[in-house]
């Protein structure tokens, strides 16, 4: 079965959504949409047996064969894991959204079209083997995410958040495209599968570091890493199902997927390891630290997502260390990749449920402000239970999945201190310390989220609506996810064997040949090791700090908003907008004079520069004809009348002098033996002088001042420059004539072939009649143009004037 087409199934279904919404109004459109992820999920589950043993499946669909662009769906452990997350959580989110969004008040057709579009894009990202189609789907997630964040487009904050996320993720996406193109140039192929075996040659290529950094830009912006995380908190203006789906479980993991997928190519480089681990870990700390500042439930969750993504990112970076150690089976680095993927699953599950709970709280109380909430425990017992499970898993408490991944995370970070490459032995100690601090804050904000919402005293007077438990349909998805959180704790090795190990195999194909080689056994209890004491420390200090939270939370307000990253973004946007405006206003003066100065200066600059660079100056007087006396006289007349135009006081003098110039040119035509030209020149000159006089007569009285042209040094400089340039060009081209003229042919054949005596006229109408045809056309257009300009006056005022 060519399952590549399944990627497009949601998009295809999206075509019918508006129809269903408009025609079948009685049934909530979401029920029809729900079929899509459920079908996809059940199909992809059937592929599991293939990947469990390290197998993979490929399905191709040619798109532009001549450019070697194809949709290639490549399913191995890593893609299948993501695919199952996307479709599985997608199904749950759609189910949740059916109860969350009202079918009468909301524009459901928009919502589900965007959501299905997004599903296609995500499936495309995780299954694409071709870099260009991967980029295509990548941008489609940016666009559909933009549409979903701005779903309530009448709100200012929604539009702002949508634009911000679009700007940042598309910026990263474009950078990533650059990285992809460099990769394909280096490797000679767009296929990731074919690039991976070349990894050892690629690393020595000049472009390697560029490609690495550019690709990481894409991954970091999408996965909300420092300093690009700022779009994620603003994306919380989206409907909660969207936040749960895109901004916790799927889209923000696209960057993680990319890092994991390209690890075999880039992990050889120390830069990769430092960047991914360092940025990830710093993001983890930063996100968890600032999560406590938030007053909005979804704001806390957004920062916690940032932090958890950083955690996974740092683990992915640490797993790269495995490439530099010979006997991976003996070292603790084998945990890093496993931990990354394992936590990725965990996070998708618990964060999805937490977002849904935040949505439920919002839906049933009317506010998400944590200062107004409290004491909901007895009113919303099921939501409370789910929230506790999710938050405790996030904090890393047993018996929830998060505990296991936290232990592995600490193990991996501790192992970095033993790593002795890339000056890790000096700085490595920082990693576990930062990780530990981040974990403490994670613990505090998890408790903050649950207990400040559900515990404490109930404040019904501050709530817009009386709080009560959510309808059962809304609770199905979070309860199911919460169950999964618990289940993962008890069967971690089953999850490990089925999902994680095949994914790790895809990440580290050089180290393992089959999933069975990855000898990681997850245990909830592994003795009194350092990480155990670190966990105890996290619990103890975290609990103490949570207890005293009210006392020190105020200190967050000490951080000035003016030097935050958001302020930086706002200022950058403001500057690029008004700054560009101001810059244009400097040179776009609106005066033709300025533009002419630019144009002529550039003509001088470019032409002289080219002549100089190519060393093309040449002045050679050997082949010139002798200068006659009469030519000198006419030249004097010509120059004299030209200067008269420049220095004339009245315009009329200028017009007459211009006529004199024209007649002198006609005289030149005479002495250079061009009778036809002389004839035409005389007639045309007379007519144009008459036209000038006509224009002169219609000048308004006020501007008829008899005034000499003002001297401007800049203008004079430009004019002299242009004159000198053109003289030099003419002299140089005359001195370096490359080929003889073709006019001999005309001379010989003008009578014999064309039957004419006047060679000029024969050229005009016979040899090169086409030019004449179009010059006639030009003349016709000019005539019609003049007539229309004179006759056609559309404004009323002028019309009246005409009728007088």
């Amino acid at each position: 079965m060519s399952f590549v087409f399944l990627i497009f199934l949601p998009l295809l279904a999206a075509l019918f959504v508006p129809l269903l919404f408009k025609k079948v109004g009685k049934i909530h459109t979401g029920w029809f949409v729900l079929i899509v992820p459920v079908v996809l999920f059940s199909y992809y589950v059937s592929l599991l047996p293939t990947t469990i043993h390290g197998g993979n499946l490929v399905s191709e669909f040619q798109w532009i064969p001549s450019l070697d662009i194809a949709f290639i769906a490549y399913i191995d452990g890593l893609s299948l894991l993501f695919t199952l997350l996307i479709t599985g959580i997608g199904a749950l989110v759609v189910l949740y959204s059916i109860f969350y969004l009202d079918k009468h008040r909301e524009q459901l057709h928009n919502f589900y079209v965007y959501l299905l579009m997004f599903m296609t894009a995500m499936l495309g990202i995780v299954q694409s083997d071709h870099l260009i189609t991967l980029y295509l789907f990548w941008e489609l997630t940016s666009i559909s995410s933009f549409l979903l964040i701005g779903y309530w487009y009448t709100r200012d904050r929604s539009r702002f958040g949508a634009l911000k996320s679009m700007m940042i993720t598309v910026f990263g996406g474009l950078m990533m495209l650059g990285g992809f193109v460099l990769l394909s140039i280096m490797g000679g192929t767009y296929s990731i599968r074919e690039l991976i075996p070349q990894a050892t040659e690629l690393v020595s290529h000049d472009f390697f570091l560029w490609a690495l950094v550019l690709v990481l830009f894409g991954a970091f912006t999408k996965s909300a890493q420092f300093p690009f995380y700022i779009w994620l908190p603003d994306a919380m203006e989206a409907p909660t199902p969207v936040s749960a789906y895109l901004h916790s479980a799927t889209m923000v993991k696209a960057g993680l997927y990319l890092v994991a997928r390209l690890t075999p190519i880039f992990a050889i480089s120390g830069t990769w390891m430092w960047l991914v681990t360092g940025v990830g870990l710093f993001t983890m700390f930063w996100g968890s630290f600032f999560a406590l500042k938030q007053k909005d439930l979804k704001g806390i969750l957004a920062f916690s997502t940032v932090s958890q993504l950083g955690l996974i990112m740092s683990l992915l970076g640490t797993s790269a260390a495995g490439y530099h150690i010979d006997n991976i089976a003996e070292t603790t680095f084998k945990y890093a990749g496993f931990a990354a993927i394992f936590h990725l699953i965990n996070h998708a599950v618990f964060k999805g449920s937490l977002f849904m709970i935040a949505g439920i709280v919002d839906h049933e109380t009317g506010t998400r402000d944590i200062r107004k909430l409290g004491g909901l425990m007895s009113l919303m017992p099921i939501s409370f239970t789910v929230a506790v499970i999710g938050a405790f898993s996030m904090a890393g408490l047993p018996p929830f999945g998060g505990f296991l991944s936290k232990e592995m995370f600490l193990t991996a970070m501790l192992s970095l201190t033993e790593f002795d490459l890339f000056s890790m032995d000096v700085w490595g100690i920082l990693f576990p310390v930062v990780a530990w601090l981040g974990s403490i804050f994670t613990f505090i904000y998890s408790f903050y989220f649950v207990f400040h919402t559900f515990a404490g005293e109930h404040k019904p007077d501050q709530l817009p609506k009386p709080a009560h438990e959510a309808p059962i349909g809304m609770l199905v998805s979070p309860v199911f996810l919460a169950l999964l959180v618990v289940v993962i704790f008890f069967i971690p090795n089953l999850i490990g064997d089925w999902l994680v190990k095949p994914a790790v195999l895809a990440m580290q194909p050089f180290l393992y040949s089959s999933p069975e080689d990855i000898k990681v056994h997850v245990e909830a209890w592994h003795g009194f090791k350092l990480e155990f004491f670190m966990t105890l420390g996290i619990f103890a200090i975290g609990f103490l700090m949570f207890w005293t939270l009210r006392k020190w939370q105020k200190s967050y307000d000490l951080f000035p908003d003016a030097i935050s990253l958001n302020a930086l973004y706002d200022n950058m946007m403001f500057l690029s907008d008004t700054g560009a405006n101001r810059f244009s206003r400097i040179y776009m003066t609106g005066f033709i004079r300025s533009y002419l100065v630019y144009m002529f200066s550039f003509v001088v600059f470019i032409v002289l520069g080219t002549l100089f660079l190519t060393d093309a100056f040449a002045i050679n007087f050997t082949n010139l004809a002798p200068i006659g006396f009469y030519e000198v006289v006419i030249l004097i007349a010509l120059v004299g009348s030209t200067f008269t135009i420049l220095f004339s006081k009245s315009r009329l003098t200028g017009i007459i002098a211009l006529g004199a110039v024209g007649y002198s040119v006609a005289l030149f035509f005479v002495i250079f033996r061009a009778p036809d030209l002389a004839l035409t020149q005389l007639v045309i000159e007379t007519i144009s002088v008459a036209l000038f006089l006509l224009a002169f007569y219609h000048l308004p009285q006020i501007s008829r001042k008899e005034e000499r042209m003002r001297f401007r040094f800049g203008n004079a400089l430009v004019a002299i420059g242009v004159g000198t340039t053109m003289t030099l060009v003419a002299l140089s081209s005359l001195s370096q004539k490359a080929m003889p003229s073709i006019s001999e042919f005309y001379k010989e054949t003008v009578y014999k072939e064309a039957g004419g005596g006047n060679i000029v006229n024969v050229i005009l109408v016979d040899y090169r009649g086409f030019d004449t045809l179009f010059e006639i056309a030009v003349l016709g257009i000019a005539g019609i143009g003049i007539i229309t300009m004179i006759k056609l006056r559309l404004t009323k005022k002028e019309d009246q004037h005409e009728n007088k």
Binding site: Y630, V633, A637, G640, S641, T644, L652, T653, I656, A657, G659, A660, Y663, A666, L667, V670, I671, R673, P675, A678, L679, L682, V683, T686, V689, A690, L693, L694, Y697
Partner: protein
């Protein structure tokens, strides 16, 4: 004979230069217009003499044309100076 042509040409050219001076300097517009008209006529003689010197009859048309143009041009200027416009407006419309 050629010498005669050349001498005549130089004499006419001197006249031409004088007229050119009047064209540039000419205190009133009328001076300039008259100078321009005379320039047209001297151009006719210059072209005629040049045709003799380079021994061609192809420029005789130019001479005829120049005479007509010179006439029309002077009329146009004169009308312009007198009435301020060259073409009369058709009053029937």
């Amino acid at each position: 004979m050629m010498t005669f042509y050349w001498v005549s040409l130089i004499l006419v050219s001197l006249g031409f230069t004088g007229l050119l001076f009047r064209l540039v300097k000419g205190p009133t517009i009328a001076d300039r217009v008259v100078a321009l008209d005379a320039i047209g006529i001297s151009l006719v003689s210059i072209i005629a003499l040049l045709s003799l010197i380079i021994e061609t009859e192809f420029f005789l048309e130019v001479i005829l044309l120049l005479s007509i143009l010179s006439f029309i041009g002077t009329i146009a200027f004169a009308k312009f100076l007198e009435r301020g416009e060259i073409f009369d407006r058709n009053n029937h419309n």
